[in-house]
């Protein structure tokens, strides 16, 4: 029988974390911004069908970077969790905090127990009646969870993009303003000033969907022409 080499727990965790970080760093970034009209979720994503942003529940959305198959299975598990909870209790008992903590447990368990950690980073956003009631959670591959204020940036060049968002973020931005800021920030590492509408996937959690659209579901995916139109509009 071959003897395994001793690896210290510190080294093991460090190797796993480095592995996950490398995987995430290869991906493109996602920006989630709280603004006056709601929460804007913007991703650099040339595919119109393989989404990085998804609806979870009435007021809750999901955004992810990293490996598609891994975050897609997490998204579906999140939808199942939310729908079961909302069906067995009540729709208003589904909260981003509950979902984020379940995600944190899943990610944490995979990070320590499985062959390889998930190479993903997630954001869970819940829109409130006022901006003060908005919740933004950021979850990393090892299951750590952070409660963010104002905006979340994840992905390959998160730090550069985050700096760019932080410079211009104001609480009273409208949706078009938030979208412009996000698109500009996502282009931070590129030669261009901003990404074209077709290279961007965007969605919004409307702050008052009942009065605006007569629906309790706040999540609304923006089509490519909506994005182009919003980006073109004068601030």
């Amino acid at each position: 029988m071959t003897q395994q080499f001793y690896v210290s727990p510190e080294q093991l965790m460090k190797d796993r974390a480095d592995f996950a970080r490398k995987g995430i760093a290869r991906g493109r970034s996602v920006v989630v911004i709280s603004c006056a009209d709601g929460i804007a979720l913007v991703a650099e994503n040339p595919s119109p069908s393989l989404h990085k942003i998804g609806e979870i529940y009435d007021k809750i959305a999901f955004a992810a970077v990293g490996k598609y198959n891994e975050f897609e299975s997490l998204r579906q598990a999140g939808v199942r969790y939310a729908d079961v909870r909302g069906y067995s209790y009540d729709r208003e008992d589904v909260t981003a905090r509950g979902l984020a903590s379940v995600y944190a447990q899943s990610l944490g368990a995979v990070f320590t127990a499985e062959q390889k950690p998930f190479e993903v980073e997630l954001a869970v956003a819940e829109v409130g009646h006022t901006q003060a009631d908005d919740h933004l959670y950021r979850l990393t591959f090892d299951g750590s969870i952070a409660d963010e204020h104002g905006f979340v940036v994840m992905g390959g060049l998160a730090e550069q993009v985050a700096e760019s968002v932080a410079r211009e973020w104001k609480a009273d931005l409208d949706l078009a303003g938030a979208l412009r800021l996000a698109v500009k920030a996502l282009a931070a590492d590129k030669e261009v000033d901003a990404l074209p509408g077709s290279a961007v996937e965007a969605a919004v959690l409307d702050r008052s969907p009942e009065s605006g659209r007569g629906s309790r579901r706040a999540f609304r995916r923006l089509r490519a022409e909506d994005i182009t139109q919003l980006l073109a509009g004068e601030a």
């Binding site: 299975s73 969790y81 079961v84 069906y87 368990a109 995979v110």
Partner: protein
């Protein structure tokens, strides 16, 4: 939440909320309990629903009464619900089960939409509802039947369509109009005389309310318009723009006109 790390995740994956519940939380389904032998105690029953099509859409209306034997169990019950953005359903039969089946059906459609990123086709929705009613068959054999009526706008074909069901889950597409529940015989008679092709949406709403008025006239389990409590039928229209609930104010005016015209006519029937 199921463990997303497990390798058999792909085989577990389903876009159906009901299938997911059957696997992981069967006790939450309204129709899986095996009932012991014996008489089920009296429970509220939901009564009459009418639905009719008009150029550009369909509408569905239900009265506000639930009965339990000879007692009025509720004057406020709502029996017509939006199933999703482009479809509505109405229910007759055991109210407690029917309301839960409606809730489950609403989650089923929304769940599919979120997981798949696209809406189910109208036929797909109608089939899912049929499967749920079939699932309820053991309960129906104990006397707890639920009979739905389903209507929606078929975006592919650009028309409104109507579906009725039997207790075994059989699904039948209806043309022009249909009604279910205890007062359905009388409502159907009224619809036969009142419905005509080329109704406008407003006329169609008036026809539905009048059909329910006629049902309430002859069926004690169907409630008529109630000006004392300001209760009017629940009416939803579905057209290309989606499902919309007709406002109380419109319904009050329509019900008022019907009562007035009948009073003026002064006839017995």
């Amino acid at each position: 939440m199921q463990d997303p790390s497990t390798g058999h995740l792909a085989t577990q994956a389903t876009s159906s909320f009901i299938e997911h519940l059957q696997r992981s939380r069967p006790e939450l389904l309204p129709f899986t309990q095996a009932l012991p032998a014996g008489q089920v105690p009296p429970a509220p029953h939901a009564t009459t629903i009418v639905a009719l099509s008009y150029p550009g859409g369909v509408l569905m209306a239900g009265d506000r009464r639930a009965t339990m034997g000879n007692v009025i169990a509720s004057r406020h019950i709502e029996k017509v619900f939006p199933a999703d953005e482009y479809s509505v359903m109405g229910i007759a039969g055991t109210a407690g089960l029917a309301v839960d089946i409606t809730r489950l059906f609403q989650v089923e459609l929304e769940h599919y939409e979120k997981i798949e990123g696209t809406l189910l086709s109208l036929d797909g929705k109608a089939n899912r509802l049929g499967a749920m009613i079939r699932g309820n068959l053991p309960m129906a054999m104990q006397g707890l039947a639920v009979i739905p009526l389903f209507a929606g706008f078929d975006q592919a074909a650009g028309v409104g369509r109507l579906f009725s069901y039997d207790v075994t889950g059989g699904r039948y597409e209806e043309l022009e109009h249909h009604s279910v529940g205890s007062g359905s015989v009388f409502a159907r008679g009224a619809l036969k005389k009142l419905w005509r092709p080329n109704l406008t949406e407003d006329e169609a709403v008036a026809v539905a309310v009048e059909a329910l008025y006629d049902a309430a006239d002859d069926d004690s389990a169907t409630g008529g318009p109630d000006p004392v409590r300001q209760l009017w039928p629940v009416v939803y229209t579905v057209n290309r723009a989606g499902a919309r609930r007709v406002s109380e104010r419109e319904l009050a005016a329509i019900a008022g006109t019907i009562v007035e015209s009948r009073a003026v006519a002064g006839r017995e029937a």
